[in-house]
Symmetry: C2
Subunit: 338 residues, 2 copies
DNA sequence: GATCAATGTGGAAGCGCTCTCACACTTTCA
DNA sequence: TGAAAGTGTGAGAGCGCTTCCACATTGATC
């Protein structure tokens, strides 16, 4: 007699179907070597009993957990509300769902909490990890490769050598954005860059420099923002004070560009006629500014999907050995600000 | 001889510590009935071997998974980028971390994907669930209570009877917000409400009605928005067209209020002198508008923490039987718009 | 000094599953 | 017709852990 209230086990399914537990297991897992009649009997038994496999038991023998972690470093308010993460999560979840894997969210802070995350990963509680790198140097890459857990970064980490990652070509993006301004005839072009501890910010600034030098334009009008709207305002004010003759600004994020637009409007400058502005991201903000922002699109969801696919390949062993990098080209979205 | 590369097992720990597996297990799980010397030996063995318990094996026998799901319904871009979810996740994660539980994120869409979520929950893959209800009627509450999984809603669900939830008192919030306008002498007060399929929106509108009736003011100036900035703009325009004499607007979200502020500015009305505006949420937006928004604060993180605590009590059986509801009072944050 | 409880310990069962292996039975082909 | 190959099946061995139970030991109590 079996307990009445507990979930049915494979044994019961086998008994009801009139086969052995081994055959029932094979039938359920879609294995070969099962006769059509046996499979039908098992299917029927599964249905009538409402059988559902016990994941822990399965996991114990297969040594897989069928779940992967998404590691979000430093979930302070700003970072977390960033559409970057929302879209990354969506992209990852979409791919994982297709592979019938679960998404375990790890909000990795530093310090004691960070140690907890590391411990969790060492436990082999997940089969792999996607790191939504906000491009900070937090030692995660080293730790992950040390414990040999399959993992992929979305966004280039600071120590990219040993780790597979997917990133947008931010140098090209910065270059293209700047070229939009050059091509429309801007002569005095500045930039509002992001924090120097993020690879994306550094790369975009790099691209700006390249384009400016190629066009023989001066590269002295640089201000640094923090990827927030307020930071963009402040940087724009500083920039305009130092260089009142600016007629073009390449901004490293749409949010900062939105701030810059405000400052330009307040100072009585028309956009794009007096000063043309190009943003970066195209994650929604650019469609709500006035005027609408010309910007560089990062296909985040696609990046996340691509990263997840690479992870899945690592997990099932079909990935080539060694770290891979996938660089996705950005595309300029033309609207009204430049 | 044991495999070299595999994780050490409890057996090896026991052998190294010179005790039985049972004692080692007790020592590791902080159980009583272990002598100090045995415990020390086990601790030492754990340290030197780098032992880490296998969660699947443990889970198989304890019938716990030590993880809880956070269910986010319908993760379209708007919903997901909402600070509401970001903060909910943070609050939940904070409490779970303290209890050494893992957060499994379930992005529950409708249809086939939704079925997958339900299946996952039925598997008893998690010990409990926090539902970040965006207040839609998606049958989740029924399903969860049907399978008997401990769960708590953040935000009142549409069918609240059988389910424990934590919510802010949105009726009171709507009332308080309106009273701010009444108290400053507004005579002609309108409201921009949220969609009628969200309990929060309905409740806030309800509160507005209460306050208006109590002050013997007319309740005809109502427009409906969709909780976005653009929706707020549109609703504000409509409202002003129908009621050009408005001198106060209670808006059901800060984002919509931001849109309304724009429209008011465009129409040459000064805020708060010509028209006073009160928002709702105080999740960051209100501190970036011009003028700064007077608003009603929802303590989301605290709500999420409270909800999680209730869930933990359900999970360990210390909760009183029956569904509970915790209603948190909102507070008015006075800034410049009213 | 005998009796009892409290305390620490190890043996062993068993959680629910997968998968190897041996075996029976069929088909194919020389 | 016999051997070889292929196919479906069940017995059974674990996966690594917790926990029940029985068995010492000890200290407290009469």
């Amino acid at each position: 007699m079996t307990a009445v209230n507990s979930q049915p086990t494979l044994d019961e399914v086998a008994r009801v179907a009139g086969v052995s537990r081994a055959t029932a297991s094979r039938a359920i897992n879609g294995g070969s070597r099962v006769s059509a009649s046996a499979r039908a009997a098992v299917d029927e038994a599964v249905r009538t009993l409402g059988y559902v496999p016990n994941p822990a038991a399965r996991s114990l023998v297969t040594r897989r957990t069928d779940s992967v972690a998404v590691i979000v470093p430093e979930p302070d308010e700003r970072v977390f509300s960033d559409p970057f993460f929302a879209r990354t999560l969506r992209g990852v979840d979409r791919m994982l769902a297709a592979a019938d894997l679960q998404l375990v969210l790890l909000l990795a802070t530093r310090g004691a909490e960070g140690a907890r995350t590391m411990r969790y990963l060492s436990h082999r509680h997940v089969d792999g990890a996607v790191v939504a790198s906000h491009h900070r140097n937090d030692g995660l890459a080293d730790h992950l490769s040390a414990i040999g857990l399959p993992c992929v970064f979305v966004g280039r980490p600071w120590s990219p050598d040993r780790v597979t990652y997917v990133d947008v070509d931010n140098v090209a993006g910065g270059r293209e954005a700047t070229r939009v301004l050059i091509d429309r005839g801007c002569q005095r072009i500045g930039t509002i860059a992001g924090p120097a501890d993020m690879t994306a910010a550094v790369d975009r600034l790099h691209g700006w420099h390249e384009a400016m030098r190629a066009a023989d334009l001066p590269t002295d009008a640089v201000a640094i923002g923090d990827f927030t709207e307020a930071g963009g305002e402040e940087a724009a004010r500083e920039l305009l004070e130092r260089h009142p003759d600016l007629d073009g600004i390449a901004v490293a994020s749409d949010l900062m560009a939105a701030g810059a637009l405000k400052v330009l409007a307040d100072s009585g400058r028309r956009v794009p006629d007096d000063v043309a502005v190009v943003g970066y991201d195209d994650l929604g903000v650019a469609e709500r500014t006035s005027p609408l922002l010309t910007t560089v699109r990062q296909p985040i969801v696609e990046m996340a999907e691509r990263a997840t696919r690479l992870l899945l390949e690592q997990m099932d062993g079909s990935a080539p050995p060694g770290a891979m990098r996938v660089i996705i080209p950005p595309s300029v979205i033309r609207r009204d600000s430049a």
